[in-house]
């Protein structure tokens, strides 16, 4: 691995972010990435974060039109409450703070403790949970659905709403709507190697794949013999359409898990598009790239986000972050 040692990975990455992005303010010690102009007067502060290893999520989504701050945990480990309360303090302009939380026990507990502390400090804090992964089916016997690709839609749309000056309740509502309208399904063609472990987190022969994986290098729900890109697209789109039952146009994220070349990912994107066309699901927007990754895992996920006019407008609104950038 291209590292100085497993225990330095996150700190080193933050130093690199600081060097490459003078437009961001990076607090390496406290592992925060904050908009340089935060707190922005009149604007709700958006805070997210989670374990590292999913880059560009979340630190790469800090900037005008998206997050105000991101907290970076250790690799695949949610950050600690201290980081989130500090982030809240850094971005609260008096309009309140929204925590965008991927639904994992660790994230929920740590963000929950931080929200309590921030409220004790006198801040208004709202929390929205992202739980979009349809591979996790029976939420009675699980910790609920995982938050994966839908996070990008929640962060983008809520970020646009906040940038427009919407009040906390509305920004939270937009985030909630984005989260609830999103469904994801992921597939692994290889395991990923975490720095702490120094090697792959599980064994996956090249002629097999894992269906229904998350973004933490965990095995999926099912192992199957290798499939073609077209077959994988059909599996993903079927699982998503069955759960979401889209009635109007969708936004599509064809997401790379990190180790899959962009060349392959675009080819997979073509098959996702075909599969959606065949099922008469209208595609309003389509984004292809490694946005919510799992270190060097080979594989992909597909997220569908059912979108109304307002959501499309918020999606198209300008955004200027290291990982997502368009408009003005």
């Amino acid at each position: 691995m291209l590292i100085n040692g497993p225990e330095r990975v996150v700190e080193d990455a933050l130093r690199g972010m600081a060097a490459a992005h003078p437009e961001l303010s990076v607090d390496v010690e406290n592992r925060l990435i904050v908009r340089r102009d935060a707190p922005v007067t009149g604007k709700v502060g958006l805070v997210s974060g989670g374990g590292s290893g999913h880059e560009p999520l979340h630190g790469g989504f800090v900037g005008p039109g998206m997050l105000d701050a991101a907290c970076a945990g250790e690799v695949f480990t949610s950050p600690v409450p201290d980081q989130m309360t500090r982030a809240a303090a850094a971005v609260d302009a008096g309009e309140g703070v929204l925590f965008l939380v991927k639904n994992y026990t660790g994230d929920v507990l740590n963000f929950g403790m931080a929200a309590e502390e921030a409220e004790e400090e006198g801040r208004r804090v709202a929390q929205v949970l992202i739980e979009d992964d349809v591979a996790v089916t029976d939420s009675l016997y699980t910790a609920g659905r995982r938050g994966t690709g839908g996070t990008l839609f929640a962060e983008k749309l809520a970020g646009a709403a906040a940038e427009e000056g919407a009040p906390l309740e509305r920004v939270a509502d937009v985030a909630k709507r984005a989260a609830e309208s999103s469904r994801s399904f992921g597939v692994a063609l290889s395991a990923c190697a975490t720095p702490a472990r120094g090697g792959p987190t599980f064994d996956l022969p090249p002629d097999q794949l894992e269906l229904g994986i998350g973004i933490h290098g965990e095995p999926g729900r099912e192992r199957r013999p290798m499939m073609s890109a077209a077959e994988i697209a059909d599996v993903c789109v079927d699982a998503l359409a069955k759960d979401l039952r889209p009635s109007g146009p969708v936004m599509v994220l064809v997401n790379g898990m990190g180790g899959t070349p962009l060349l392959e990912l675009y080819g997979f994107g073509a098959e996702v598009r075909r599969a959606l066309d065949e099922r008469r699901v209208a595609v309003a927007r389509m984004l292809v790239g490694p946005y919510v990754t799992s270190l060097d895992m080979a594989g992909c996920s597909v997220t569908l986000c059912q979108a109304d006019e307002e959501m499309l407008r918020l999606w198209d609104a300008p955004v200027a972050t290291p990982g997502l950038r368009w408009g003005r």
Partner: protein, 205 residues
């Protein structure tokens, strides 16, 4: 051993830190089978910070030592295990308050409250394949420390066939069966360290 003081708590947590340093690889191994391969480094990082905090602040009562340790875990571990193990120690410490010495029974009762707080926070019951499966039987066996160790170890081993219902192992569904829960394994290390610390105390008289 009838009395528990700050020194015993420090010895306990130091023993735990040493055990985790030895066993971090195995814990991460367990977590890669049904989780995300970070449990060993999480626990190790947390208890290294706990040891440093105890050496720095030298808390004078077992309650304060536990609160400091719990707060340190919450502040350095992250993940699911940080808030959960942190709550275990912090809650127990709060129950003990400022007393410089407490009885073994008081200590056991405080830990039982800590374990209840963990189960409440995580919403986990025995059989869900979590650290609770090791902590609850151990708490019930206290203040017999050796019995608590056995109970924790048996509880951890008994998680192997279970299907997880909490934490990220639950995402695996059926495939979570057949593996020991990493959090239960580290909980057993924690309880075993307590038994060792208590025994050393007893042998010293």
């Amino acid at each position: 051993m009838t009395r528990v003081d700050a020194a015993l708590v420090r010895r306990w947590l130091t023993e735990t830190e040493e055990a985790l340093a030895r066993e971090a690889g195995r814990l991460t191994e367990l977590d890669s089978a049904i989780g995300d391969a970070d449990h060993g480094s999480n626990m190790r990082r947390g208890f290294a910070a706990v040891r440093a905090a105890l050496e720095r602040e030298e808390p004078a009562s077992p309650g304060r030592a536990l609160v400091l340790a719990g707060r340190t875990l919450v502040g350095t571990v992250g993940g699911a295990s940080g808030p959960l193990f942190g709550t275990l120690l912090r809650r127990a410490g709060k129950v003990l308050g400022e007393a410089e010495q407490v009885s073994a029974e008081e200590f056991a009762a405080a830990l039982r409250e800590g374990v209840s707080a963990v189960a409440r926070l995580g919403g986990a019951a025995a059989g869900d394949k979590t650290m609770v499966d090791a902590l609850e039987p151990a708490a019930a066996a206290l203040p017999d420390f050796a019995a608590a160790q056995r109970a924790a170890e048996e509880g951890a081993a008994a998680t192997v066939p279970l299907r997880a219902r909490k934490g990220r192992a639950s995402y695996l569904g059926e495939r979570s069966a057949g593996h020991e829960d990493p959090g239960a394994a580290s909980a057993a290390l924690l309880v075993a360290a307590l038994a060792r610390a208590a025994e050393q105390e007893a042998s010293r008289g």
